[in-house]
Amino acid sequence: MLSMQNISMVYRAGLVETHALRNFSLEVEEGDFVSVTGPSGSGKTTFLNIAGLLERFTDGRYELDGRDVSSLSDKESSAVRNEKIGFVFQSFNLIPDLNLFDNVDVPLRYRGFNANERKKRIETVLETVGLASRMKHLPSQLSGGQQQRVAIARALAGKPRLMLADEPTGNLDSKMALGVMELISEINRNGTTIIMVTHDPELAKMANRNVHILDGRVSNGDIEVPLSKVATA
């Protein structure tokens, strides 16, 4: 599903170079649930941005779903992002003055679906996350956990092959966090590949594989986590 070979990412500010990723290589198979951990500044977010085609890398090769995406134009990378990738952010990133329906509608608009198709998909995904009855509510009328569910619904609406989650429970209390993680695990069980950046080792264990990043490289501690642990976390 995702193949990164010797990816390097160097930020330049005048004469100062900062290596965010160094010869970073990673293979993620279709249907994987990969947690990405590492200390602050290790390169987790840079990896996620490159994986989501939000940032261009300095060197290396990146294939997504069998397609070399190393040097796509803005329009092409936007289309790939829209069709193949769903994003879930720590702070939910819902648009405050759009109701839930319209928030979930955003990626579908850029896909060019007609009104009927969009409506069907929105109702389905909001049903999936348990918020179908509140689709005319504004985000401010929901709890944090519910807002993150809407963000997940938005990521799911385009039926992406890959979901990238950046600290998806970082702003939630433990009970809400558990609910969101159960939802993400269910989405993975339904076939969507998931890469989740987290600081929390307990949440990392809910993935079936953990990648630890240190100083911009995958460290040796690439841990296989039994899927059965998800239920007990």
Binding site: F89, L98, Y110, R111
Partner: protein, 438 residues
């Protein structure tokens, strides 16, 4: 997607009403100021008779002083013609149509005992005046050639005069007392307010047309007082009106209708031959310099749109630019404030070009608002100009649909231009960094 972008634009405008109001106000003030002046310039420079302006020629014969310039300081031929020359050209009748005319003032005495006499201005002209300038009649028609040569006391009334004297009824065949004589009404004009008043810019390009029309020869025969400019370069030789008519004093506007380039060339040849003939009589001391200008050339020659009006136009457009610079600053603040939403949309699959279009539509909506309020300000500005200058500008301060659409279009275009840089900046922010900041 256009309707979606419109919806997003309206939502964004509602999100920050104070900033939106400021932007609309900045554009409205700029549009209001510039459209007031543009409207005046537009009306001043308009073609008053577009259907045949290229066939109507103002005729100038250079009979002037060889050693001194005209009253306007140039060595161009005089704008008006002497009686001697005008009558010679009328008698020759070389053009398809031709008219000599001048302006007179007189007193009109209404028929009713209760009505008081009042002063009016008269256009003393020839039968061809009416068909030549495409005048439309409510009642009757113009007089015929026989009336000109027989010096019949007939008159055509303007619509306003007919309403004032006859209450708007069909007055053809009735009598009206002008300059102490009875004139029979043969026609009543429909609305006739050419702007500029092309057929006599010498006496005020933006004056209202005259209230009555009488045969030129009648005005001469009865020595009805002239109301327009009279310019002489030689002392009048003798006393009395007859001496004046035979002098080198110019007070007549002369127009010819020429339907093709060939007719124009033939007429110019005729004018030059006439001037050569006059030289033999000791007149026309200057080298040949006769001229034929069609309507728009004549407006240009007479600088109907004066230089100070052009300067005002430039200043008003500069003011619009200043307003737009303010709008750019406000739009920049607004769009950079939307960085998080823009980054989110990028992450969800919007290309930079899609976001660019979205925000340009939002800018256009702000421009539309500015245009609508700008129109209201322009209307107030024009009323202000009218109050300041009164009757002088009465014909210049009306906005037609062209100007309304121009104002809206200019406002939208201005807002789009103002939105270019802020939109480009907002769409160029680093999506990854912005998402990380949230």
């Amino acid at each position: 997607m256009f309707s979606y972008y419109l919806k997003l634009g309206l939502l964004s405008i509602r999100r920050n009403p104070l900033m939106t109001t400021l932007m609309i106000a900045a554009i409205a003030v700029g549009i209001g100021a510039s459209m007031s002046i543009i409207t005046v310039n537009y009306v001043m420079s308009g073609n008053p008779i577009p259907q045949k302006s290229d066939q109507l020629f103002h005729v100038q014969l250079d009979s002037w002083d060889p050693n001194n310039p005209n009253d306007d300081g140039s060595f161009d031929p005089p704008d008006q013609m002497t009686y001697t020359d005008a009558m010679a050209l009328m008698k020759a009748g070389k053009a398809y149509r031709q008219i000599a005319s001048n302006k007179s003032s007189m007193v009109l005495v209404p028929q009713g005992d209760d009505e008081r006499p009042f002063s009016i201005l008269s256009r003393n002209t020839w039968a061809d005046f009416f068909p030549m300038f495409d005048l439309q009649f409510i009642y009757g028609s113009g007089w015929d050639d026989a009336a000109d040569y027989n010096m019949e006391r007939v008159t055509v009334l303007s619509k306003e005069t007919n309403e004032r004297v006859f209450g708007g009824e069909n007055s053809v065949g009735r009598t009206v007392r002008l300059a102490g004589m009875d004139f029979q009404v043969v026609g009543v004009l429909d609305e006739f307010h050419p702007v500029p008043k092309f057929y006599d810019v010498t006496n005020g390009a933006f004056n209202e047309p005259e209230e009555v029309y009488i045969p030129f020869n009648v005005g001469i025969e009865y020595e009805i007082p002239r109301a327009g400019n009279t310019n002489c370069w030689k002392p009048i030789d003798g006393e009395g009106f007859e001496a004046f008519l035979n002098s080198e004093c110019a007070f007549i506007q002369f127009w010819a209708e020429l339907r093709s380039d060939e007719e124009e060339q033939e007429y110019m040849d005729f004018l030059n031959a006439y001037a050569e003939q006059q030289k033999e009589f000791g007149r026309f001391p200057r080298p040949l310099n006769n001229r034929l200008n069609d309507v728009m050339e004549w407006m240009e020659d007479q600088e109907v749109v004066e230089d100070d009006a052009r300067v005002m136009l430039g200043l008003s457009l500069l003011f619009l630019v200043v307003c737009l610079l303010n709008t750019i600053g406000l739009l920049l603040a607004k769009y950079l404030g939307k960085s998080s939403e823009i980054s989110l949309r990028r992450a969800l699959g919007a290309s930079r070009s899609a976001l660019f279009v979205q925000h340009m539509i939002e800018s256009g909506l702000i421009g539309l608002g500015g245009g609508i309020f700008g129109l209201a300000l322009a209307w107030l500005g024009l009323r202000g100009i009218e109050m300041l200058f009164g009757d002088m500008v009465e014909n210049l301060v009306g906005m037609d649909w062209v100007m309304v659409l121009t104002a809206i279009g200019l406002a939208i275009l201005s807002a789009l231009l103002a939105g270019l840089y802020p939109t480009w900046r907002a769409c160029s922010i680093s999506t990854a960094k912005q998402l990380k900041l949230q």
